[in-house]
């Protein structure tokens, strides 16, 4: 039985106006999302943001309180989980501990009552792709975390799913192994051309795996964008601090394109801030977008707290006159004197076009 991998195409997925409440608690509110066939999407958000609820609704373990779920345009809310042809990879892999690797991968095919010869051929093919062929007779308890994950993925893909759902798939792995497995699994999913949705609270996982990232917060979609766009143009203060590291500096609009920072200087953002004068704003500057400079107008004075070498970069932490913590990330170039704790340094924003501006949330203003 030969399977032309490139011909396997996943479902397209449409979520329209999905809402779900557990009693009085609203877990999801008006979710609209379109996923193209073969796309790899990450649902990213802190715990309690509704991402697991969303996954369970797509998988069919949960019926949404309102809204439509469509696979290839057809509604599926009434179809139970065991008829949806969805491959699931669970956080703890959920391999059947009493069955061999072979039987785990065969499970979905046996549930479909496929003939033995077909099951054997398919399982061998899947274990080959997952590089687990040598382990077919082992029990899951005898495998490492990475191996268990390969088996879990092989089991999910063996049923030729239209959609693969991965629930925090890397959280149980060692940090060293994680990036390797992310690359490996991404390439496997792409080889199959299957539509995939990864649920995660780990932004690095989302950034490294996904074609597009859906950021969820408090049951709402905050932004849907490519990893780069999300990092460079976050749509909200929440995203700017949730995706990657950032420095948040408070200030007040003084002119169409100028903000007076609480930390000292007035800075020129080179574009309209689109807010009235006197509006309290928070600007977000990535640590790698700040450099040490000379004392001159527009430079931000800080007191150095510590410098931490992190391999390729070194990160310096300081505090502004207004008490805001600032991180500066620099390539660890030779010849640059290491700033000492307690010294005063002057910071310049390297590229003002990459600074994001947000209205300061009301509860923050009061603390001002």
């Amino acid at each position: 039985m030969e399977l032309a991998l490139s011909d396997v195409r996943g479902h397209s997925l449409d979520l329209r106006g999905i809402g779900h409440a557990f009693g009085a608690t609203v877990a999801l509110d008006e979710i609209n999302l379109t996923v193209a066939a073969g796309e790899l999407i990450a649902l990213l958000g802190p715990s309690g943001c509704g991402k697991t609820t969303m996954l369970q609704i797509i998988a069919g373990f949960l019926r949404p309180s309102k809204g439509e779920v469509r696979f290839d345009g057809a509604r599926v809310e009434h179809i139970p989980a065991n008829r949806r042809r969805i491959g699931m990879v669970f956080q703890n892999y959920a391999l059947f501990p009493h069955l061999t690797v072979f039987e785990n991968v065969a499970y979905g095919l046996r549930a479909r009552k496929r003939p033995n010869a077909e099951v054997a051929a398919k399982v061998e093919q899947m274990l080959g792709l997952a590089q687990m062929a040598a382990f077919a007779r082992r029990l899951p308890g005898e495998l490492s975390g990475g191996q268990q994950q390969r088996v879990a993925l092989a089991r999910a893909l063996a049923i030729d799913p239209g959609l693969v759902l991965l629930d925090e798939p890397f959280s149980a792995l060692d940090k060293n192994l994680r990036l390797d497995m992310q690359i490996e699994i991404k390439s496997l999913l792409k080889t199959f051309g299957v539509t995939s949705i990864i649920v995660t609270h780990d932004q690095e996982e989302a950034l490294s795996m996904a074609d597009r990232i859906v950021v969820l917060n408090k049951g709402l979609i905050e932004q849907i964008d490519s990893p780069d766009a999300l990092y460079d143009r976050p749509a909200s203060l929440f995203i700017s601090s949730f995706i990657g590291h950032t420095n948040l500096l408070r200030g007040t609009v003084t002119d169409a394109d100028r903000v007076q920072l609480d930390a000292g200087p007035e800075i020129d953002l080179g574009r309209s801030v689109q807010r009235r004068r006197g509006t309290p704003v928070t600007i977000s500057v990535r640590p790698e977008n700040i450099a040490f400079g000379a004392e001159r107008p527009g430079a931000i004075p800080i007191t150095i707290r510590a410098t931490v070498p992190l391999g390729a970069v070194s990160v310096t932490e300081g505090v502004t006159a207004s008490g805001e913590a600032v991180k500066i990330s620099q390539a660890r170039a030779a010849g640059v004197a290491k700033a000492q704790a307690g010294e005063t340094a002057w910071l310049a924003i390297s590229d003002v076009s990459r600074v994001s501006i947000f209205s300061t949330p009301v509860d923050d203003v009061s603390k001002h």
Binding site: P80, A81, M88, A94, F96, G108, I159
Partner: protein, 274 residues
């Protein structure tokens, strides 16, 4: 004085010494304690009646254990699927038999199964039966009563292993396309087997040795090991033979318990023992 000594002394006085006495008594040839020999054991194994009593008793234990097992799974599945209130209620109902004395529970069954009992009066007044049926003092009535009385010993370990079953395993099976029946047979049953075996052994041992219930619900016509021993010791005053009966019965029950325990440890794979 190490703190274990009082307990060890109690254990010695109340368990080890009587057991030694039992072995010693069983080695006398006559009820008058004359002559040491293995005559009592030879007598047992050459007597088809005695052997039949033993196998009947073991079979009773096995049958009751199987009946509780069949009842325990649906109960445990309902329990696990229920909310907190229902769980508390079910736990209470399961524990209830343990909170009343064996004699009271057994008399309740006599009231239910008796000639003028609840079942007979109901069936007669509904016109479904023409004459009262014999329910009490039958094998089936005894199995029924013992099943109800021993159910907690089975339900609790089964519920416990079902609660420890990772919910993602059943979700994984469901996502892979398995029907509910298939999920039960291929995932839930094998993974809760240690609990079921533990419960089976507990009920087996408890039902086979349940002197009061066997005697009161089974009546004098059904002779099983506990009443046989009682009859030989108290009725016939043949202490050596009843001591031999006791030891043979004890060894048979513990032997089966250990054998099944060992087999299950050997053949139940990938499941941590309950």
């Amino acid at each position: 004085m190490p703190p274990v000594i009082p307990l060890a002394a109690l254990f010695l006085a109340a368990f080890v010494l009587p057991l030694i006495a039992l072995v010693a008594i069983s080695l006398f040839r006559t009820p008058q304690f004359a002559e040491l020999s293995l005559a009592q054991y030879l007598r047992f194994f050459s007597d088809p009646f005695s052997i039949k009593v033993l196998t009947d008793t073991l079979w009773l234990g096995a049958e009751v254990a199987l009946a509780t097992l069949i009842l325990a799974y649906p109960l445990a599945l309902v329990y696990v699927a229920s909310g907190q209130f229902m769980r508390t209620l079910i736990t209470f109902l399961i524990m209830l038999p343990l909170l009343t004395s064996t004699v009271v529970r057994t008399f309740a069954w006599i009231v239910i199964l008796g000639r003028d009992g609840i079942v007979n009066s109901a069936m007669l007044s509904l016109g479904l039966w023409q004459a009262p049926a014999r329910l009490l003092y039958t094998w089936e009535g005894m199995v029924l009563a013992l099943t109800q009385i021993q159910l907690p010993l089975m339900a609790l370990p089964v519920i416990n292993s079902l609660l420890r079953l990772d919910g993602n395993l059943t979700r994984a099976a469901e996502g892979l396309g398995a029907s509910r029946a298939r999920i039960f047979i291929t995932v839930i049953l094998p993974l809760t087997l240690p609990g079921a075996i533990a419960g089976w052994l507990l009920v087996f041992a408890a039902a086979a040795t349940a002197f009061i219930t066997q005697t009161l619900v089974g009546g004098g016509r059904l002779i099983l090991m506990p009443s046989y021993i009682y009859q030989q010791a108290v009725g016939v005053q043949d202490w050596p033979f009843s001591a031999a009966l006791s030891l043979i019965f004890t060894l048979a029950v513990t032997g089966i318990v250990f054998a099944i325990g060992a087999l299950s440890r050997r053949y139940v794979r990938g499941v941590d023992a309950a």
